[in-house]
Symmetry: C2
Subunit: 189 residues, 2 copies
Amino acid sequence: MSELLRQHIEKITPLTDKEFDYIFSHFTTRKYKKHQFLVQDDTAVQHDYFVLKGMLKASYITAEDGKEHILQFAWEDWWITDYQAYFNQTNATLTIDCIEDTEVLALSLFNREKICSEMHKMEHFFRRKSSFGYVALQKRILSLLTNSAEQRYQQLQNAYPQLFQRVPKTLLAAYLGVSRETLSRFSKM
Amino acid sequence: MSELLRQHIEKITPLTDKEFDYIFSHFTTRKYKKHQFLVQDDTAVQHDYFVLKGMLKASYITAEDGKEHILQFAWEDWWITDYQAYFNQTNATLTIDCIEDTEVLALSLFNREKICSEMHKMEHFFRRKSSFGYVALQKRILSLLTNSAEQRYQQLQNAYPQLFQRVPKTLLAAYLGVSRETLSRFSKM
């Protein structure tokens, strides 16, 4: 399973076997069952998670009405955590839980900073990942500002068709910010 | 004026005089008048801009109705460009123009990658900046998903009071995604 992480890093920077083994020694493998939590609201966030297998979601629960708003899905070859809490070492405002049985590689902030400081190429890898992530979030903000919910539904379906196979409609609605009923209307069109 | 860039980088990593001079040699100083464009829709994006003086906005114009949606403001000590176009070296989908007379330091992608590859500490600096930027955009997405326009107005005013002194109400409305009339209602409360 470590091969998935190696391929992922090598899309940005090549590694020797020795370098990869050293990097990999900073991760720990963890398995979770469907519905299990990786991050709970108002608790410390120790790790960033690289997904080997499964599907997760990061969500924010509105205090007033208990409504779930999904910030992010993650599946194989994606990273997920509560980044605000992780980078600032504060308590989580998000909850992260499993939509399927899941296997991840967990990286503590200490180990992330350690391998970045020891290996220029890992600093480079994470800079590139962050830059691409920043661009993706800017696109999502523009989409929220300028597109209708129906346009956002179509974009999501075109970009990530497998999401529609693996994730219940209720959760897609919570990601798009529409009701379950509105979503059903889109999917019939 | 180069002192502002040095202080900005040294918030994350200390530099010797020689290191800073070398880094600074990769930037070019540019001055623009109010209303002048730095980036125009559908043209190449050569530079990322660090603001020494002035105020700018990055916006997306909806093709159907010509409506302006503001993605970002930038002023002293901030960076701005069309990052999607800059990192991928594609044409701009945003326009960036000056709300005040402005002075910037421009950094080409070639020079950015050059100083990052030559100096581990600059790779570190840009990784940290990107990570913080990513967190800020996640917060904005959550705010768009969970808060009313009025709550977002209050948050903006609390976080950046100087923005309300320097930017016309019409532009604040285009950032918050509300009409000029709705914004006036908030500001009277």
